[in-house]
């Protein structure tokens, strides 16, 4: 028997999914050269959903027989997903026209994927987790290959699909093992069985490890990062921007929700694994990025490295004293990283002349001189990525490293800090090319993309002066978790 409160708890998800279905039909009547209307409608749908998320935030509801949960954490993440979605629409509008892939389904698929992410942040049952994972992934496989007939896009799509399907298999198998260990699928039930001590501990542990593999794939943690550079490079750039922010956030949402609620008792076994994963992710991401000349690939490795920083704070997930800070620091960092990342990807869109062309470091030469404001904005993003003060990236890293130190993982913090010095090298290289090498850049500037760049740069700078605004939201989101 469905109650009103159940509907209410997932209303924003239903709005996004329903709107996307309607849009799919409406789009048929929108002529090819007017696809801007589809983009606008998609953005409106996301905005309406955002309004409902904001209106319902502050409540804590377990809906549909504990299948889904609405709490501060999910509200925070959903705002992040919806805003990311709107930014991605703004970035894509001009880009898909220029690249001649102007089909209305682009926006529809993006909305489905967002619905999946939103559901992921609310899932309170392992089957819901799997459902959400598939709902967010499958449209993305299509979006990655959206520039079909272009080899790199198709290749990326196929790679992403094969490896993604593989990862989904891990999640499903992990779910099955946890079910056989506890006889339960919903989080409340599993937690109760674990507390009672009647779970089969070996199966439970293996199940948890398999889930870690699946989620590790989504957040692109080493050693499950192989797909990232190729997919990020081959996918249409707005899709890449969307993946690097929203998909990563969704992966972390799942990781945090599942691990903090279900697996604190396994922290003894999982912590060493996470420690190594975090260290490797930071090291591999940052070191390999040093060697990249293609900006898309460089940002892909940088995205891997940033997942490593977040994982560093996540290692302490079983430590009750620290875990509040872990979640708050992660949420804060996701916002800082998201703003910075969208800004940087928007710049890639601006310099990308043809599909996948004109995005080498050399193509940045002279931007600082001919487009000073654009140069300054990119400087802000690079400094924020590197964690230099007076950017959001600095406070984000500050909080993550503080959490790692608080949990006692000083060795890991040192690895993180040293690799972030290495990262400064490749971020500075971008600055070197923009400001210190002569060149005549040819840019494709579009008002919507400029708006994204401007707003992101200002936000990265100004929010760093008043970081408490985001911090408070992030720490309030913590309280309602579990």
């Amino acid at each position: 028997m469905t109650r009103m409160i159940d509907i209410y708890s997932i209303l924003p998800v239903m709005i996004v999914a329903g709107w996307a279905l309607l849009l799919l039909v409406v789009d048929l009547w929108i002529p090819r050269h007017r696809k801007g209307i589809t983009a606008l409608l998609a953005a409106i749908g996301l905005a309406i959903a955002l309004g409902f998320v904001l209106a319902s935030s502050g409540n804590t509801i377990l809906g549909f027989n504990q299948m889904v949960v609405l709490d501060g954490f999910s509200s925070f993440m959903q705002v992040l997903f919806l805003v990311s979605g709107m930014v991605a629409v703004a970035l894509a509008y001009d880009y898909i026209q220029r690249m001649n892939i102007n089909h209305g389904e682009f926006y529809v698929l993006m909305m489905f994927s967002i619905a999946g992410m939103m559901l992921m942040s609310q899932a309170y049952n392992l089957l819901m987790v799997f459902l959400a994972l598939e709902l967010l992934s499958i449209p993305l496989y299509v979006l990655t290959g959206f520039a079909r007939t272009r080899l790199e896009s198709e290749e990326a799509s196929l790679k992403y699909f094969l490896l993604g399907a593989f990862a989904s298999g891990f999640v499903l198998y992990g779910t099955a093992l946890i079910f056989s260990a506890t006889g339960q699928l919903d989080f409340v039930g599993i937690a109760a069985v674990v507390t009672a001590g009647s779970a089969n501990s070996v199966l439970f542990l293996i199940g948890a490890a398999l889930l870690l593999v699946g989620f590790g794939f989504k957040i692109a943690a080493v050693p499950f990062q192989m797909w990232t550079p190729d997919v990020y490079q081959g996918a249409p750039t707005p899709v890449t921007a969307f993946m690097s922010v929203a998909v990563k956030a969704a992966g972390f949402a799942a990781l945090m929700r599942v691990f903090l609620v279900l697996f604190p008792s396994l922290s003894e076994h999982l912590t060493p694994i996470l420690w190594v994963m975090a260290a490797l992710t930071m090291i591999v991401g940052n070191i390999v990025a040093l060697a990249q000349n293609n900006i898309k690939r460089m940002l892909a490795y940088s995205a891997i490295a940033h997942a490593g920083y977040i994982l560093m704070a996540f290692v302490a997930f079983g430590n009750g004293e620290v875990v509040g800070n872990t979640v708050a620091a992660t949420l804060f960092y996701l916002v800082a990283y998201g703003l910075t990342s969208f800004g940087a990807w928007a710049l890639v869109i601006v310099i990308e002349r043809e599909y996948g062309k004109g995005i080498l470091l050399d193509d940045l030469a002279g931007i600082g001189k001919h487009y000073p404001w654009l140069g300054v904005a990119m400087l802000v993003f690079m400094l924020s990525f590197a964690g230099v003060p007076l950017t959001m990236g600095f406070w984000g890293k500050f909080y993550l490293f503080r959490t790692a130190v608080q949990a006692g993982y000083i060795g890991l913090a040192i690895i993180g800090l040293l690799t972030s010095v290495a990262s400064a090298y490749y971020y500075l290289r971008v600055v070197v090319y923009m400001f210190m090498k002569p060149g005549e850049p040819k840019l494709q500037i579009n008002p919507w993309v400029s708006l994204v760049i401007g707003v992101a740069a200002l936000a990265v700078l100004l929010l760093s002066l008043i970081p408490w605004t985001i911090l408070e939201l992030a720490s309030r989101a913590v309280l309602l978790l579990q």
Partner: protein, 501 residues
């Protein structure tokens, strides 16, 4: 508090007014940009004189500003700024050298004047913030922030190898400061505060790990100073930087490292400081001798001056780690002296480079005959850098050697004895440089027609010359400013030393 705004805050952020004006100037209004930058930095200097007027050497918390910023995981991060005897001279040095450096760029910088001036003023904000911040996080923010403008000054307006030098400068400093960041985070967690005075008061809370914490801070500061063997970025940065950049780099940025030792390492970790003192002193002496020896071998004048900085800063470090009043106050005064003398040397090198576009000593010779005013000023500056009695360098070096000689912590007169060799070395390389460039007959045809200094260049040098003589003949007012703070610091460290023995 006359105008309802704290003079320290006003002084620190006043250069931003100039930045704001500069942003709205059109690219061809180059002179307007120069005047804006100069005017802004002069007003900042005037405010710093007002700060000096309000300053009471016997108080530790002059003009204290305390504004809560926000709380991160329960620990407050504040805008906490104040000035005391350790920082007042550094602040004045910064506000004094900035307009001089800007004046020196009038003809030297023609490309992208706007960006240059904006970065220069931003750099001044960062440097003042470093010297005034008393909250560790705020300090770190300013510390890292100074990197960005300097990185651009070297990288965009520098010499042939500028990009390499700029990136090396950035990465070296950043590599050092990340460990400091880790130490700051640890301190904040242990003591529940980032405020330097509060941490000093509660230092027993982290006394157990103070040697490691000392090391983390020391690496960050030692790279900046630079202490041998972490100095390799300095010659590159100095040689490639534009003249004004070198002046500020040598004059102020290097002092941030030495100041960091005074402000954080000694008071926060006194026992560790006492334990580490002999090691630091040995490194300082290696720096003195090594810097001097390498300077002697240089053919490029700017490189020679750069390596002489390594040697001079070695004296400063020796003074600081003598850990007695003479050593510390001598060290602080020598920081000022080095800022003035080496700043002046870089300006002179810049002036001759603008005329001949080379810095090779072999290209010159007999310059005195062609440029008598230039020669005269150079002689005074070279002698001051050498430490000739009656000029500023002598006072600082002498006080430091006195301190090192009588230091209980170092426990041996040999430190001072060997360091004295450095004074002789300095005389050797500086006189050699002077002889090769200025004395004898004019050997090169191009040098015969060189124009002597113009009025602007003389105006640039005069304030420095005044200070060179003033500090050399009557340094007492300067010592009066720093002594009370030094006494307090020494007492704090010595009581810690007693605990140790």
């Amino acid at each position: 508090m006359e105008f309802g705004i704290n003079p320290l805050v006003l002084m620190t952020f006043f250069p931003l007014v100039g930045v704001l004006v500069l942003v709205f100037l059109a690219p061809q209004q180059k002179n307007a940009m120069r005047w804006t930058a100069l005017g802004t930095s002069l007003v900042t200097f005037a405010i710093s004189l007002w700060v000096l007027f309000l300053f009471d050497p016997n108080k530790a918390d002059n003009l204290l500003v305390q504004i809560p910023w926000f709380r991160l995981a329960g620990v407050p991060i504040q805008i906490l700024m104040g000035v005391d005897g350790l920082s007042i001279l550094m602040v004045l040095l910064t506000t004094f050298l900035t307009p001089i450096a800007i004046l020196s760029t009038w003809k030297a910088v023609e490309e992208q004047v706007k960006g240059f001036m904006i970065f220069f003023l931003l750099l001044e904000v960062g440097m003042l913030g470093v010297f005034l911040a008393l909250d560790l996080v705020l300090f770190y923010i300013f510390w890292e922030f100074t990197l960005i403008p300097m990185y651009f000054l070297i990288g965009v307006w520098g010499g042939k190898n500028r990009i390499y030098a700029a990136v090396k400068f950035f990465l070296f400093t950043m590599a050092g400061s990340v460990l400091m960041l880790l130490a700051i985070l640890y301190l904040g967690l242990q003591a529940g505060s980032f405020s330097q005075p509060e941490l000093v008061a509660n230092r027993s809370l982290f006394a157990g790990s103070q040697l490691l914490l000392f090391l983390a801070f020391a690496i960050a500061f030692a790279i900046k100073v630079p202490v041998f063997p972490l100095h390799t970025w300095l010659p590159d940065a100095h040689v490639e930087a534009p003249t004004a950049g070198s002046v500020i780099l040598a004059g102020v940025l290097l002092k941030m490292g030495a100041y960091g030792f005074l402000r954080f390492n000694l008071p926060l970790f006194p026992q560790a400081s006492v334990q580490a003192a002999p090691v630091m002193a040995v490194l300082a002496i290696i720096g003195i001798l090594y810097g001097g020896a390498v300077a002697f071998a240089q053919k490029d004048i700017k490189k020679l001056v750069a390596y002489s900085s390594v040697a001079h800063l070695g004296f400063v470090m020796l003074g600081i780690f003598a850990l007695n009043p003479e050593g510390l106050s001598g060290g602080i005064l020598q920081m000022v002296n080095h800022g003035i003398s080496t700043g002046a040397l870089f300006l002179l090198v810049g002036m001759i480079y603008e005329r001949r576009h080379t810095r090779e000593m072999s290209e010159y010779g007999g310059l005195w005959k062609a440029m008598p005013i230039f020669g005269g000023i150079s002689l005074v500056v070279v002698l001051s850098s050498m430490g000739l009695p009656g000029l500023n360098g002598f006072v600082g070096e002498f006080t430091i050697l006195l301190g090192a000689f009588g230091s209980k912590v170092l426990g041996s007169p040999w430190f001072a004895g060997i360091a004295t060799l450095g004074v002789i070395l300095a005389a050797a390389y500086l006189l050699k440089m002077f002889e090769k460039t200025f004395l004898g007959p004019i050997t090169k045809e191009e040098n015969k027609s060189l124009k002597d200094l113009n009025l602007r260049e003389i105006i640039t040098m005069v304030p420095l010359l005044v200070l060179i003589f003033w500090l050399g003949i009557y340094p007492q007012p300067f010592f009066n400013l720093i002594n009370p703070a030094v006494e307090q610091l020494v007492q704090l460290v010595q009581s810690a030393a007693l605990v140790l023995h």
